[in-house]
């Protein structure tokens, strides 16, 4: 298709594994977005720092009937799927092939009890020959549940031949999860939760048994009448799974214990729970009797629905929950002790994800904000603003290569990563762990990092940990957008500043002249501000930096004096963006890095003052570390932010070879990651590119030609002045090399902001 065609050139540029990629990636973005100027258009590819992610249309899964939505007019496609709207949230679960090989299929297993009726049209599939290599995917749409073979980007499934399909009556599946550990040849365990609160365990692969194994929990709804929101297996014990409900309860089930409901004595009273532990806004209950019965344990947490919960890692040391009351709670699972609490800026928290090393938790919710919380430091690290609506799922991407620093290549040092580096990195990461902290980070980090070092042999610079990107976070939301965010070590440090290279990259509010620009308000509304503590431990480079920017930031010092307000406000509004304002642009272009830093500096200076003031007003919880004020925590911007669906997105999964998204219409999309092939090409291109600044210009020139900035992907506003900023980037490329050593990151950061600060920076400023 045309799309593909247009993407051609960027393919060779995207997927850039080399760390010199800042500019080239950016220009890729420019290229890409150029091909998709239309508003509301759904993106089929997007660029992240590590390359181009592309949708694999052949791998799309959905209910058998509807056509893939790319072939339909948007409106009609949506209308055709009315069913999905009222139903429960679409979820996707996977069973990885490593532990599974498909067994012999059989035609319809007899219908199990319960509300379900089996397989309408066409007999269940015969598994094909090579089926055993495939993973299994399960998803629910409305009252239906489908199980297909899944091969990542290679998926080419005949939708009319699911491995299993179930249609439920009177209740809809809301959540499901495979037991990765118990699955074997031709057998697996899938736990499904329902809107009416029941839980069912089925084996979708098992077609041999005349009566398929199906266990039911909470069948008569004595335990809980409300919808199941989330299910997890207890890491390390495949017999135990936990299910959370809208009621705010979380139940622990042990499969070894009889499934039959506890109140078999005929009484319709809720079972007599005995309090085990009590803490602030949570209680855990157990049974008095010696004979264990299901559910084994009950946690009552917070107020309102527990939307999601998850364990910190394979050791199941910690369990985190997010609730409708807006609280993230972290418990020591064994001792049932509450160790950390965070409150959303406002509204319920809908999703959470643990970082692979279990140090951070990312949450998303009804404040449209991504919030990154450090479990180690017990504070909010940063907030991310880009979504236009509630965030329905966040995930850490454990596979994204954590490499790349500008310094390394500008140094000319691009040391091959050795295991040393990796382990050092790991040590560093797990270093601060106190006794209460997870030790789990180590194995995971090793695997991630060693993978990265394999993928690109020259990227991790062992010498500087400072600004490495440590985490990649993805988020999807009700706004149909997918965002990727990078968290650098800098952001994690106490003394961090507002210089988040990757997060600043896509300063979206560009098109002033585009009134419908949705993202535009973002920056102006939310002063980007460094944490209040920023001043505390400023480094030498800081002060250096500050000197650089002093003139620019000087006017900002007074803004909070009463009468000055308006004026100072005006200044701050306009100065920080000044670099690109019509009046001052000429002057600024000459000193681009200066301009960049100045906006950086401006931002950095204002907040301290503001936060002091706002702190006084805060009442108890709000404004405390549980829920810092909006100015007390850095606001980051996403690396990329794309509309990828017609309907709200409900699922985001990072897999080794692909990224999976799903929307409420029931379309499951697979996105290929930047491939190694691309990388190879990439490296070729890049090495030449890196060699001379001239060749660097190549991508940027095309960027200039297609002056649709990154911003257009988010904002559709297309400022004509893009080209000049693209130009500025070349300058910065050159600037960077003399500055190659450690503090250069700052320059780099500045450069990005110089590049990205939109021309009409008003809305960015302040």
């Amino acid at each position: 298709m045309m799309q593909q065609h247009m993407l051609g050139p960027s393919t060779s540029l995207g997927g850039n594994n080399n760390s010199a990629l800042q500019s080239s990636v950016l220009s890729d973005g420019v290229l890409l977005s150029h091909s998709q100027p239309t508003r509301e258009e759904i993106k089929k590819s997007f660029v992240a720092e590590d390359g181009v992610y592309r949708i694999v249309q052949s791998a799309e899964l959905s209910r058998p009937r509807p056509l893939p939505h790319y072939q339909m007019a948007p409106g009609l496609g949506a209308a055709a799927n009315q069913i999905a709207f009222a139903g429960s949230t679409v979820r996707v679960s996977f069973l990885n092939a490593a532990t599974n090989s498909a067994g012999t299929p059989d035609t319809a297993a007899g219908s199990s009890s319960f509300y379900e009726k089996k397989e309408l049209n066409g007999s269940p599939t015969r598994l094909e020959d090579n089926e055993d290599a495939a993973d299994i995917i399960c998803f629910n749409v409305g009252k239906e549940l489908y199980v297909y073979a899944y091969r990542g980007t290679q998926t080419d499934t005949d939708l009319s031949r699911p491995i299993d399909k179930r249609v439920y009556k009177g209740t809809s599946p809301t959540y499901h999860i495979f037991n990765q550990e118990t699955s074997g040849t031709g057998t697996c365990q899938l736990v499904i939760g329902f809107t009416l609160g029941q839980l069912q365990i089925i084996d979708p692969l098992d077609k041999t048994t005349p009566v398929p194994t199906s266990k039911l929990y909470n069948e008569d709804r004595y335990i809980d009448k409300t919808s199941v929101t989330c299910i997890r297996f207890l890491p390390g014990d495949s017999n135990i799974f936990l299910a959370s409900h809208v009621s705010g309860n979380l139940y622990v089930y042990d499969e070894r214990v009889s499934a039959s409901s506890s109140s078999s004595n005929g009484s319709s009273q809720p079972p007599p729970w005995i309090v085990q532990n009590e803490g602030e806004k949570y209680t855990t209950y157990g049974w008095k009797s010696k004979n264990p019965r299901n559910p084994v344990t009950r946690w009552q947490i917070g107020e309102g629905s527990i939307h999601q919960f998850n364990f910190s890692g394979p050791d199941a040391k910690m369990m985190a929950t997010v609730s409708h009351d807006g609280f993230l709670r972290v418990f020591m699972y064994e001792t049932q002790e509450l160790i950390a609490v965070m409150k959303s800026y406002f509204g319920g928290l809908l999703t959470l994800a643990w970082s692979p090393d279990a140090k951070l938790i990312a949450t998303g919710g009804e404040d449209d904000l991504l919030t990154v919380y450090s479990v180690v430091q017990k504070k909010v690290v940063c907030r991310g603003q880009a979504h236009k609506s509630w965030i329905s799922q966040v995930q850490f991407d454990p596979y994204v290569v954590r490499r790349s620093k500008k310094d390394s290549e500008s140094n000319g040092i691009a040391p091959t990563t050795t295991l040393d580096d990796v382990s050092r990195e790991v040590t560093m990461r797990s270093g601060p762990s106190s006794s209460g902290e997870p030790s789990y980070g180590i194995p995971k980090a090793v695997s991630t990092l060693s993978k990265s070092s394999l993928a690109s042999s020259n990227t991790i610079n062992g010498t500087q940990k400072g600004d490495e990107i440590v985490y990649r976070i993805g988020s999807v939301g009700h706004d149909t957008f997918l965002c990727l965010w990078d968290i650098t070590n800098d952001m994690l440090n106490q003394s961090n500043h507002r210089r988040h290279r990757n997060s600043t990259i896509i300063a979206p509010p560009i098109g002033l002249d585009c009134p419908s620009n949705q993202m535009m308000g973002r920056l102006e509304d939310l002063p980007e501000i460094s944490p209040g503590g920023a001043g505390g431990s400023s480094t030498a480079s800081d002060s250096q930096h500050n000197t650089l920017t002093q003139n620019q930031s000087a006017p900002q010092e007074k803004p909070k004096k009463k009468r000055f307000n308006r004026k100072a406000f005006g200044l701050s509004k306009f100065t920080s963006g000044g670099s690109s304002n019509a009046s001052s642009s000429g002057q600024r272009t000459n000193t681009l890095s200066g301009a960049g830093t100045s906006s950086d500096g401006t931002r950095r200076n204002t907040p301290g003052i503001t936060s002091q003031i706002s702190c006084c007003k805060e009442t108890r919880l709000l404004g405390s570390t549980f829920c810092p004020g909006i100015r007390d925590v850095p606001i980051i911007e996403p690396l990329t932010c794309k509309k990828v669906s017609h309907d709200r997105l409900t699922v985001l999964e990072f897999r080794k070879d692909c990224v999976v998204t799903a929307c409420q219409e029931g379309f499951i999309c697979t996105w290929s990651r930047p491939s190694d092939k691309d990388d190879m090409k990439q490296e070729g291109v890049n090495s030449t590119a890196a060699a001379t600044p001239e060749s660097e210009q190549k991508p940027s020139v095309s960027a200039t030609a297609s002056s649709y900035g990154y911003g257009s992907e988010m904002s559709n506003g297309i400022p004509p002045s893009r080209s000049s900023s693209a130009y500025s980037n070349h300058e910065l490329q050159q600037l960077r090399s003399p500055n190659a050593t450690s503090p250069s990151y700052r320059v780099a950061a500045a450069s990005t902001s110089a590049y990205h600060r939109p021309t009409y920076a008003w809305q960015n400023a302040n």
Partner: protein, 439 residues
Amino acid sequence: MGANGSSQLEKEISTTDSVNTTNEHYYGLVNFGNTCYCNSVIQALFFCRPFRERILNYKQTLKKSGASKDNLVTCLADLFHNIANQKRRVGTIAPKRFITKLKKENGNNLFTQNSYFQLSKDSELFDNYMQQDAHEFFNYLLNTISETLITEKKAEREKTLRHGTIKKGNVTVNMAPATAGLQRDDKTGERNGITVEGNDFRNSTETTWIHEIFQGILTNETRCLSCETVSSKDENFLDLSIDVEQNTSITHCLRVFSETETLCGDQKYFCETCSSKQEAQKRMRIKKPPQLLALHLKRFKYVDSLNRHTKLSYRVVFPLELRLFNVSDDAEHGDRMYDLVATVVHCGATPNRGHYITLVKSNSFWLVFDDDIVEKLDVSSMEEFSGMSTDANIQMPPGNQSAPQKNSESAYILFYQARNYAADNPDHNHKSKNSTHSV
């Protein structure tokens, strides 16, 4: 159905809020033929506590003063009083007097004198397309109440002026019995404080408790692109009308509301510094967030191609808690937390036909008021009132609209109440008292 349903609700309520013994009454309002626009707004306002308290106070003062008035405000006060003093907690009531009064006062051209709704050239059409727009009625009601109060105050002031010497004694006499006679001392004191204050400096800007509750200040900042001068102008509002977009949140729509726009071409801005028309950038942010933030979602849009108003059933999600992002830097209480207390929902795919219902938070649970029917609502199903996520609504041929119609229940007016209202208010009251004395 009614009786059965209400007893069911009664049972549910008694089981849920046994702890919280606030004696709330949940009364459905009888529909007198297309009066759901009215019923829905009244219910929402009834559950906006500050509003209800003031209305009930009004009734009480009126009773005390012995004056018998008959206007829309007294009718509303009687209605509220009736609901609040019913024996049973759940039931149905007929707002007959109020509706009659409303119709009588407005004749056929209902609401056209509304000064807040800028209909401009659409106003004629507006009459046709939706005689019963809940938002218009809301505005009309607020304006009528505040006008009535102002008139009464003026009358009172004249009276006081005539008997100028008695004034001081009058006030003290007023205070004492009021405090003694009412349960809610704080409210009474505050109310009296305002009455006192009203006597003194109402001359310049007439404000009433309507303004105290609903009024916020927008600041309109314009920056001349030529001389960089920033000028700002403040503007009062009783509610905000917000443009909606598909698949967004109210938070986002508010942000868009405060986006920067560039004035160029015909719209150039006259800059006083430059003494000429210049290109400028403009944005509007909230300088003073009101106690009760009423957000009107502009779901009724005139579509040129269709030559009629269409309903935008866009899915705009609204959280139960809200904080504003689009406040100006010098805003007081800029980061205050709001709680959703009531929502007027429009049901139906077109503006002409349709129905209004109200979702209301009372104590710890949510209720749906559908004219005379009152039901409990599960919080988790609030999201169903966000609208539809399909883009199909407008483009689809009329015949096909039957399908989405079912799901086109979409929030139309949101009432967010600032947290710590009670805590804030004495403070505020105190201040106003002080200023009164100093003046």
